[in-house]
Amino acid sequence: MSNRRSRQSSSAPRISDDQMTDLVNKLRLLLPEICERRRSDKVSASKVLQETCNYIRKLHREVDNLSDRLSQLLDSVDEDSQEAAVIRSLLM
């Protein structure tokens, strides 16, 4: 973010090819779509990075959605009811 940093890094590529390949392969193993689709060894690094970004955003949305559902559940349930007790035992 600082000017000094960006000048430093733009003067040379930051990682070796071997390291990048190794890490990119590890990412591939984590990403569900890429695991299924690609059979060849050569997958472009930029594609994997893009898929990783998309996957992380998807996980964020899912957490958000689950938090929504849970808070709605707590809201829709009467405080003294049996259902409330069920939720409380799960959560608290």
């Binding site: 590890k26 990412l27 930029s46 970004c53 689950l66 938090s67 559902r69 608290m92």
Partner: protein
């Protein structure tokens, strides 16, 4: 490298602890306040699994602390991560060996002018994508070293998967319990 059942259990315990702290306000709060409490507790629980050993978890704890300092302190009290709230994020690491090796490669490539353009374009594309990654991983803006960035990303993804799996199980179970 998959979420383990130990991670699931630990996350659930910590998340429950966080929710218990919110308990008084959860009962009387609005839906959006409840959601915020649920989400913040889940994030702190996920980050604390790493016990301060990763950059993303420290960044996430710091970020959550700015939104709800009390909650974070309560959830982490008694653990040394409490000190993480005030700890500075790590300085950018730039492994000298990697830079030296990269410079050698770059010097060699400069003599092959035909391939140079292709390589440059590929590098630009990768650079743009890694920048995108920095935007989604907590603390990413402090990781100018790509190796560190991807290592952190790998760990972050596994932790997120844990968070999602446990939350999904709880919500499904709760919804099923209510419908009966």
């Amino acid at each position: 490298m998959q979420p383990t059942s130990t991670m699931n259990e630990e996350f659930l315990k910590k998340w429950q602890m966080g929710l218990q702290m919110f308990r008084p306000s959860i009962d009387n709060a609005s839906v959006s306040e409840r959601k915020r409490a649920i989400k913040l507790s889940a994030d702190v629980a996920m980050a604390s699994l790493r016990k301060g050993t990763t950059c993303w978890s420290r960044a996430l704890i710091q970020k959550t602390a700015t939104e709800d300092n009390f909650l974070v302190r309560q959830m982490l009290s008694g653990i040394k991560e409490e000190t993480l709230i005030n700890k500075k994020l790590p300085k950018v690491m730039c492994h000298r060996k990697i830079v030296r090796r990269s410079k050698k490669i770059l010097m060699r490539r400069k003599s092959r002018s035909a391939m140079e353009e292709v390589a440059a374009k590929a590098k630009k594309l990768v650079k743009r994508k890694t920048q995108g990654l920095r935007n989604v991983v907590p603390g990413g803006e402090f990781m100018s070293n790509n190796v560190l960035l991807i290592q952190e990303t790998l760990d972050y993804i596994v932790s997120l998967q844990t968070q999602v799996n446990v939350m999904r199980s709880i919500v499904d179970a709760a919804e099923a319990g209510i419908e009966r």
